[in-house]
């Protein structure tokens, strides 16, 4: 899983192109200064457009910090275990955030696992069509 390097290039900058297993990539942007960012932004820290993407779903990460939320909004599982995690791709750190499959400790090694629907799109205040609702949870390796 870890150290995928260029084989981890995602198919599309917006993360919508499916990978070989039929799941969309967890696309991080690669910027001209060599840094990575998740999610991708139209302009990077150097003020330039991304020059490529990396599929983080092919890497493992370490939990930086986590919490279990017991007071969740409509349409969100309760309790909701979430974490900030840090990947290292070719020596470059890049952080992401997301649900956990189970409680962990800081420093735990985790891998992304795809979920078609992370919360009920119709239960909250946002227009269901306004964004995507699938994504990657993190599970201990």
């Amino acid at each position: 899983m870890s150290g995928a390097g260029e084989s981890g290039e995602a198919a599309g900058a917006d993360g919508t192109d499916d990978s070989e297993n039929g799941e969309p990539p967890m696309a991080a942007a690669r910027y001209a200064d060599g840094s990575l960012g998740y999610p991708p932004h139209p302009l990077g820290p150097d003020g330039e457009e991304p020059v490529g993407t990396v599929d983080l779903s092919e890497h493992t990460a370490r939990v930086v910090t986590w919490t279990t939320s017991h007071a969740t909004p409509p349409g969100v599982r309760e309790p909701n275990h979430v974490a900030i995690v840090e990947f290292t791709v070719e020596g470059e750190p890049v952080r992401a955030i997301g649900q956990l499959t189970e409680p962990v400790e800081s420093g735990t090694e985790v891998r992304p696992v795809y979920a078609e629907e992370l919360r009920d799109p119709g239960a909250g205040i946002k227009e269901p069509e306004s964004q995507e609702w699938d994504g990657y949870r993190f599970e201990p390796v």
């Binding site: 910090t65 969740t72 919360r119 909250g124």
Partner: protein, 385 residues
């Protein structure tokens, strides 16, 4: 540029204002502020309403126009300011700009929010809608960001869990003497530490409540202020700054860049440094935020603010009182009103109208945080002479 003065201040009681809606609350604070300063509505040239989400909470739009009419302030220019939880601070910035630029000689700012008719889940979702889509789809909420940040802080700096609880104990103790606070009841550390878990390791008493309320300030040039009163405050420095929208993209989870940058610029404008601030109102929406702001504003070294709270340094009778009003924790947090109410407390401290909460203060600071540090306004005020 002529100094900008604050000549009037007011706030409604904060709490569950059943049967009263956003327009009622705004009008109540607005009328009280004009009466406090002895200024007629017809003298207003600019009117700003700080409000985050009256449309989402209540279905009420156009609050600035409604308030202008309710106060009889036409034809004053009116605008609504939304900067999430820092809408109040952003309103101070807009009102200050209106006077400093010469565009207005009398500006009323009223901040308010009506929230308690919604369930906790619904209110949490309205607030969480400010997050990035990549955060929102995972069910991330502001309390969950606070939980993750608190865990990281405690682990990294070897701070005891009790230190966060002591922030809640202090601010509840201060709120007892604030007649407009939502909670006027002391809590002990044991109660805080045994309250229900909300976002591990943070518990119920680490969080501010859901609140209805409104607060107002009246601003004018210092030369105009002297026509009305001898007791006024000056806005010595004010600045706003942003940090990343996506919280995990910050290089250090325990540093809010917007706090650091807005504080630096406000200090520079005012000519004061952190060692010259006598009293501060910090945005303690969550107990951990009081630590992060103390450190970001230079009141403590990184990782050491908890020790100052532990030693009583920030108590009302300590060397550097923080949140004499009770803070958001005890006073309540009606989103658009909170930044204005912070300045109301500092104003009252500077003009000697804080009653039993009064401390010796010539210079005060407010830090109003939007989102989870996404937008921040820092304001420094001093007593007029």
């Amino acid at each position: 540029m002529e100094p900008v003065a604050v000549i009037g201040a007011s706030m409604t009681p904060f709490g569950n204002r059943e049967g009263e809606w956003i327009l009622d609350l705004l009008a109540e604070a607005g009328v009280a502020c004009l009466e406090d300063a002895g200024v007629e509505p017809g003298e207003l040239e600019h009117l700003y309403v700080s409000n985050m989400a009256s449309g989402e909470f209540e279905g009420q739009g156009g609050t600035m126009n409604a308030l202008a009419h309710d106060l009889g302030a036409m034809p004053a220019y009116a605008a609504r300011i939304d900067q999430t939880s820092s809408s109040g601070g952003a309103g101070i910035h807009a009102a200050w700009q209106s006077i400093a630029s010469g565009a207005s000689e009398m500006t009323l700012l009223v901040g308010g929010e009506k929230m308690t008719h919604r369930t906790t889940g619904e209110s949490t979702d309205v607030i969480a809608s400010i997050t990035h889509p990549c955060e929102y789809k995972h069910g991330l909420t502001l309390p969950s960001f606070a939980g993750m940040t608190a865990r990281h802080y405690l682990e990294r700096f070897d701070a005891p869990r009790e230190s966060l609880g002591k922030v809640a104990v202090k601010n509840h103790r201060n709120g007892v003497d604030n007649p407009n606070a939502q909670f006027r009841k002391e809590v002990d550390l044991e109660t805080v530490l045994e309250s229900p878990m909300v976002a591990d390791p943070l518990r119920l008493y680490d969080f501010c409540p859901i609140t209805d309320g409104s607060a107002a300030l009246l601003l004018c040039p210092e030369s105009v202020a002297r026509e009305y009163t001898d007791d006024y405050a000056l806005i010595s420095g004010i600045s706003g700054a942003t940090d990343t929208h996506v919280v995990h993209e910050r290089p250090d989870p325990t540093v809010m860049g917007g706090v650091v940058e807005s504080g630096r610029e406000a200090y520079e404008m005012s000519g004061y440094g952190p060692e010259e601030i006598d009293v501060a109102e910090l945005h303690d929406m969550f107990t951990i935020l009081e630590f992060l702001q103390m450190e970001g504003l230079g009141f403590a070294e990184q990782g050491e603010s908890w020790q100052l709270v532990d030693e009583g340094y920030t108590d009302r009778d300590g060397e550097f009182p923080i949140n004499t009003s009770g803070g958001l924790k005890s006073k309540g947090h009606p989103l658009g009103a909170s930044g204005v109410a912070q300045a109301v407390e500092v104003y009252e401290q500077l003009v000697g109208e804080a009653g039993p909460r009064q401390v010796e203060a010539d210079v005060g600071l407010c830090c109003n945080v939007g989102g989870f540090g996404n937008c921040v306004i820092t304001t420094i005020m001093e007593a007029g002479v």
